[in-house]
């Protein structure tokens, strides 16, 4: 379906063959199943190029015990625990209510085994969803709870399984909680990923000193918000070295709270940018970020957003080659 956008066409970007009306993407876990924020006066999904739906598993999940969130300096920690009604109910009850003329909707697939990733992806493949994002930061139950995304081999196995299950654009959401994110991206690319989202949250903890207990019910959680932006920028820059020669786009994300932040990610190599925590700060932030990007295009006499992507000029020697045999 074509998105009927009222945004300036210079904002539109091509993402794996899908037209995004703007590079702004609403991130998974921040906007429920796509309609929650639309009740806010002045908010519209049309201001986003795509909306990532809440993480979905094969069976319904209750999620973690409270507290699930707490604010930390420059950000917040969350441990929701993938509360969701299961893939069948998402496809049967939720997708039919979404207005696909407003924006692109991206499913977010989670699992505790490779088989589960495959099966959830397969069911979304037979649905109107525009693209599928794989959250590979989930713990692998069969491997003692090690997160798939923190291990290059397991990451690639998940991507390969999901690739077999769908021909829709497949986005791999990379974890920053690993030594060499570029090596992981390379393995996922070779396993069939069409795009990357980077970065997922960083694992962290907050402690209540009176109780001497973690604030979060799950003890640990994912850190997001402006505090992680410099880390995310470097990771996107590193992944871009792998992706650039293959034409693989990146949704840059991690603490974006202004047009300047978004532009930094685009310059570092992102083709689109994700907004999450900042939406909690200001639900109407999309309008000002879109406008800020347009102002930048005007100021630099650029025809479209794609001309910003990867325009970073490094100090010193030029960028290293991507290292892929197929490049």
């Amino acid at each position: 379906m074509t998105v009927d956008s009222n945004l300036d066409p210079r904002l539109s970007v091509d993402f794996c063959g899908l037209n995004f009306a703007t590079p702004l993407v609403l991130l998974s876990g921040c906007v429920g199943f796509g309609e929650e924020y639309t009740r806010i006066h002045g908010f519209s999904n049309r201001q986003a190029g795509a909306v990532c739906l809440k993480g979905t598993t094969l069976s319904p999940r209750l999620g973690n015990a409270p507290h699930r969130i707490c604010e930390t300096p420059g950000g917040m920690i969350n441990a929701i625990g993938l509360q969701n009604p299961g893939v069948d109910r998402v496809i049967r009850d939720i997708l039919p209510t979404l207005d696909f003329s407003e924006t692109r909707f991206i499913a977010n697939v989670s699992g505790s085994s490779i088989e589960e990733y495959y099966e959830v992806t397969r069911r979304f493949d037979d649905s109107p969803i525009d693209a599928i994002e794989i959250n590979i930061s989930c713990p692998n139950v069969k491997e003692g709870g090690v997160a798939f995304g923190n291990d290059v081999r397991m990451s690639a196995q998940v991507v390969a399984a999901c690739r077999r299950a769908t021909r829709k654009p497949l986005i791999t959401k990379l974890s920053p909680n690993q030594t060499d994110i570029a090596a992981n991206a390379r393995a996922c690319l070779e396993a069939g990923a069409d795009a990357f989202a980077a970065i997922n949250t960083l694992m962290g903890m907050a402690i209540d000193i009176e109780q001497r207990m973690p604030v979060i019910g799950n003890n640990q959680g994912g850190l997001s918000g402006p505090a992680i932006k410099p880390i995310a920028l470097l990771k996107v820059h590193q992944i871009y070295q792998v992706c650039r020669d293959h034409g693989i786009p990146i949704i840059g994300q991690g603490g974006i709270a202004s047009a300047v932040d978004a532009l930094e990610f685009l310059i570092a190599g992102a083709s689109a940018v994700g907004i999450g925590t900042a939406l909690f700060y200001d639900p109407l932030i999309l309008t000002q970020i879109n406008q800020g990007i347009l102002d930048y295009l005007d100021r630099h006499d650029l025809a479209n957003v794609a001309q910003i992507t990867g325009s970073l000029c490094l100090h010193g020697p030029s960028l290293p080659a991507c290292g892929c045999e197929s490049a």
């Binding site: 906007v31 929650e36 969130i69 939406l279 639900p283």
Partner: protein, 345 residues
């Protein structure tokens, strides 16, 4: 999103708040400090003031240095004068920063949010129990009860979901003047359609108002317990105060003990007209829920939880509830904050 989708998201069969939310750049009109780190904040907030109902809250930016918003219950809303009033206690970094805001300052607010209390005309003796920072929603509910005798505050039981907002109690304040109940709870109500609320407030820090002897005699309450909230007295609504701190005229004990002593004096017919509404610390709400169970009374409680988005998007503020299908996680922001006590306790 349809009701069915809400069910799907939450594996629940209880609707969530779907009305329009407004992001407003409000202005501080007044900000008054009380002992015990309590503050009374009045904000110019026309959209919220026009729509707010008892039990709802606003999600506000306490300070730019701490951008995650904080949910704060509404104590009053005046649509004619376009203001909302919030009573809060500075308990954490956010509310401590909020306490520094001065008249004229701008504060971003999203609201009104959440499921309001639902009163039922067939139960015209609402018992309102508020503890600490749980007092404000009880004051708000009392305010609206006095303004609209015999009218339900939300959808009446059995009404179709999505009924016209005209059913909302108090959207036209002042339209029912002289609504103050002439009879105190426990006495035979002269008009079956008039509300006869009783408000019991508890605090372990000095009350954020100067308590005064109540002008209302409430049969069934200890005669020495005379301290009341002046605002409620002015509205013609009987109230009593409870504390363990030995404040003069107050009941020496818990709000639930005082409520129990009153309920015990009611006959079956009178009890059948009582519905309990409560907001306060979790242990107090558990005790109120147990009290309501003991007397077989319907009970609605307003909950709080750490909150991120405040609009139902992040599922960060959940509470575990009991449903016929088993346990479920409900979002305090839009599935609550008001819940049927039997689902929670």
């Amino acid at each position: 999103m349809s009701a069915g989708v809400e069910d799907a998201m939450n594996a629940m069969n209880h609707g969530s708040y779907r009305d329009t939310l407004f992001v407003e750049e409000t202005e501080v009109l007044s900000h008054e400090a009380f002992p015990g780190d309590q503050y009374l904040l009045r904000l110019w907030s026309p959209e919220c003031a026009r729509r707010a109902r008892p039990g709802q809250f606003v999600h506000i930016t306490c300070d730019p240095a701490l951008p995650l918003r904080r949910p704060l219950s509404l104590m009053r809303a005046n649509p004619r004068e376009s203001w909302i009033e919030i009573l809060y206690k500075a308990v954490g970094e956010g509310t401590r920063l909020l306490a520094r805001r001065k008249p004229g300052d701008r504060i971003s607010s999203i609201g009104p949010i959440g499921q309001p209390f639902q009163v039922h005309p067939e139960r015209p003796r609402p018992l309102l129990i508020g503890g600490g920072v749980g007092m404000p929603p009880m004051v708000f509910l009392a305010d609206r009860l006095r303004q609209t005798p015999g009218m339900p505050s939300g959808m009446p039981s059995g009404a179709a979901p999505g009924s016209a907002p005209g059913e909302v109690l108090g959207t036209v304040p002042g339209s029912a003047p002289g609504a103050a109940p002439s009879t105190a709870p426990g006495t035979a109500p002269g008009r079956v359609t008039a509300w006869s609320p009783l408000v019991i407030l508890g605090s372990e820090v000095p009350f954020p108002f100067r308590a005064q002897p109540s002008q209302f005699i409430v049969p069934g309450l200890p005669p020495a317990v005379i301290a009341a909230m002046p605002l409620l007295d002015d509205w013609g609504i009987p109230s009593r105060l409870a504390s363990l701190q030995g404040y003069p005229g107050c009941f020496q004990g818990y709000v639930t003990d005082l409520a129990r002593s009153w309920l015990q004096t009611l006959d079956a017919a009178a009890l059948a007209e009582v519905e309990v509404f409560a907001c306060g610390p979790h242990p107090m709400l558990a005790a109120v829920a147990a009290l309501a169970r003991d007397f077989d009374l319907p009970c609605q409680v307003s909950l709080e939880e750490f909150m991120a988005c405040g609009v139902g998007g992040c599922a960060g503020c959940v509470v575990e509830v009991k449903t016929p299908e088993g346990p479920a996680m409900k979002r305090v922001c839009v599935d609550g904050p008001v819940f049927d006590a039997r689902m929670v306790f």
